[in-house]
Symmetry: C2
Subunit: 370 residues, 2 copies
DNA sequence: TTGTAAGCGTTATCAC
DNA sequence: GTGATAACGCTTACAA
């Protein structure tokens, strides 16, 4: 059957062409902003488009142009797990901010963001992670969504950015935050300002590059400054608040002398740690100081307000997308990007909590109240 | 040029066919799980697919099948705003959980989730929200992403689910949570258990259906029970913690007798309210009780742990996608779905906080206040 | 059981 | 300036 006339469904370019009395080529040209089109013709076409409510079919465009204008954001499946007992609070806020950043950047370039999880299992049939390649032009892979050795083959097919990883992959562009710098600043603050020598590091999942980077950087820095860092068994959690509560509980059960400060690998765990200490009748920072990493929104509203290292998660997402769009446009972006982190001093480290009137959103840099 | 042989790019079905010594039709059949294929043939095809690392092009599939297997999730643009001063904490957690739920459900049906914002402005050229229709098979529209009158035309084109709205649209399926039920339970608890008669409602953005529903339900319930509800100017915020801090500050400045409890339209604001009260030297729940709505993860770790109404955000997202997939499969799902909410009693309302050991993930001992 | 060929809705290359 | 028409990669009758 000759093209055109889809019975009664969505209007196609043929309908527009017919209505405007031109060929589909002309319609396409108008829609794609080609010049050299007679104004009168253009107006007729646009009118027809409006009347019909025509919207180009992205599949057809993708097929024809070889570009889908879609970037995939791949999360580890555990992040999306449906297990109600393991709330995976870890990802909360992180994923959200990351997605936002990616969204924003994608929008700027007329791209869209497609969410994917690494462990696709929908059809028992032949489900495979690789199926998703077909839907996107490029991929953002989060830390540990695929094993190192699988990155190569993937990166060979589509442009790939590795996020929050160890930063040592020559197979794909890597974008991450400066964990080391943040921990260095934190260690200096604790040791030099508060004169704390006995510290403890409450880590997240052991196999996470972020966790590893934060821990080794902190330990190195604090040791360098003449302090020590306790970090064996009891101090191991899973990035979650409840995991931290349990970890601190284990440590307290040992009834050994406590460290002066507990450095948590993320804010969620700091919240759990503070909670556990409070329940044990210990005061923060009076008896033990607690600091975190991330600077999630609630951090400033905890009591005491949480001292933490802010990481630019949103920018991380945006940078990833920008990098990929760059690649898709034929440019060669930087191979390894490191975004800066920033120490945010509030009350939980022992510093006098900002006296703030409590009106307005008090930002560490001295926020203005709108 | 005859089809086949894409110079050196991504392998197509033609490459697979050639390699396996069969026609592309056969390859397609194997890939789509058709029966009546000679086992030997099937094996050869699968082998070729494996060797070439072939992945079907989703655009081509979409064009051919008329289904893209992509569902769009549309957020109001303000949620993604790049304005660093307005942190929009409101959406945090909510969006995240919602997305998760949608993701999970989509995965189950081999669909993917595409993120979109309502105010697309990438190319000054001819950017339009409608452009996104081309990329998806169906849409989930969040509360207020488009004005009422625009829903009709959209729903006419693609299946649409309205989320967290007022629930009164016969143009599209609506899915929301039982705000009224939750508020009813909350009011009963406050009045009947704590004998609180003087309440205040700290609302979010005034034009939000959720805010309106929560407020009117609470006021009606508390009034019915013989209590009163203060809710004029000072008690208005923007869903954010900082907005709540400011609102409570305004109310305190009035130096009038305070209500016995502040009922917040969401947990973020409850956190801000508690913070503002603490800074004013008031104790929660000793001087004033505070309750929230949502039950975000940190709620149980606040001191005192926050009493709140839990809403099944993740299920909300999942239900939306399930409904759309249903429609796409030709079934006719329910027009208006209301998901149940649940009162979660913790310490901030004045109830004795659960005396947990603090090791589990449970709502624990009365964080000895400070 | 497998191959041939006609679409699917755009874009882009030629001619005119 | 504009109109035919050939791709783009895949699915699916229709034949064989």
């Amino acid at each position: 059957m000759s093209a055109g006339q889809t019975a009664e469904g969505v209007p196609t370019i043929y309908h527009v062409a017919q209505r405007a009395g031109v060929s589909i080529a002309t319609v396409s040209r108008v829609l794609n902003g080609h010049d050299q089109i007679r104004p009168a013709t253009e107006e007729r076409v646009l009118e027809a488009v409006r009347e019909l409510g025509f919207v180009p079919n992205a599949s057809a465009q993708g097929l024809s142009k070889g570009l889908k204008r879609i970037i995939g954001l791949v999360f580890a499946n555990s992040w999306w797990e449906d297990d109600p007992t393991s709330v995976e609070e870890n990802s909360l806020l992180f994923a959200d901010e990351l997605i936002r950043g990616a969204q924003l950047a994608a929008d700027r370039h007329a791209y869209s963001v497609l969410l994917l999880s690494s462990g696709v299992t929908h059809r028992a049939h032949h489900a495979a992670f690789s199926e998703v390649f077909g839907k996107v032009d490029a991929l953002v892979l989060l830390d540990r969504v695929v094993r190192q050795e699988r990155v190569g083959p993937i990166a060979k097919r589509v442009p790939v950015v590795l996020l929050a990883g160890s930063g040592r992959s020559r197979l794909a562009t890597t974008i991450r935050v400066d964990n080391a710098g943040g921990m260095q600043a934190l260690a200096e603050h604790l040791v030099l300002v508060h004169n704390m020598k006995r510290t403890a590091f409450l880590g997240g999942l052991a196999d996470s590059p972020d966790n590893e980077a934060r821990f080794s950087a902190f330990r190195a820095a604090v040791t360098e400054l003449g302090g020590s860092c306790e970090s064996d068994e009891p101090w191991s959690a899973d990035w979650t608040s409840s995991g931290a509560v349990a970890a601190v509980g284990r440590r307290l059960a040992l009834r050994r002398r406590l460290p002066e400060v507990i450095v948590c690998a993320n804010d969620q765990m700091a919240i759990g740690a503070m909670h556990a200490l409070a329940m044990a009748g210990l005061s923060v920072p009076g008896d033990v100081a607690v600091v975190g990493f991330d600077d999630i929104p609630v951090a400033r509203y905890l009591s005491p307000p949480l001292t933490t290292v802010r990481q630019p998660i949103r920018q991380l997402g945006a940078a990833a997308v920008e990098s990929l769009v760059m690649r898709l446009q034929g440019h060669e972006p930087a191979r390894d990007v490191v975004l800066p982190t920033e120490l945010v001093v509030r009350g939980s480290c022992g510093c006098p909590a900002t006296p703030g009137l409590g009106l307005g959103a008090e930002a560490p840099a001295g926020g203005k109240g709108r």
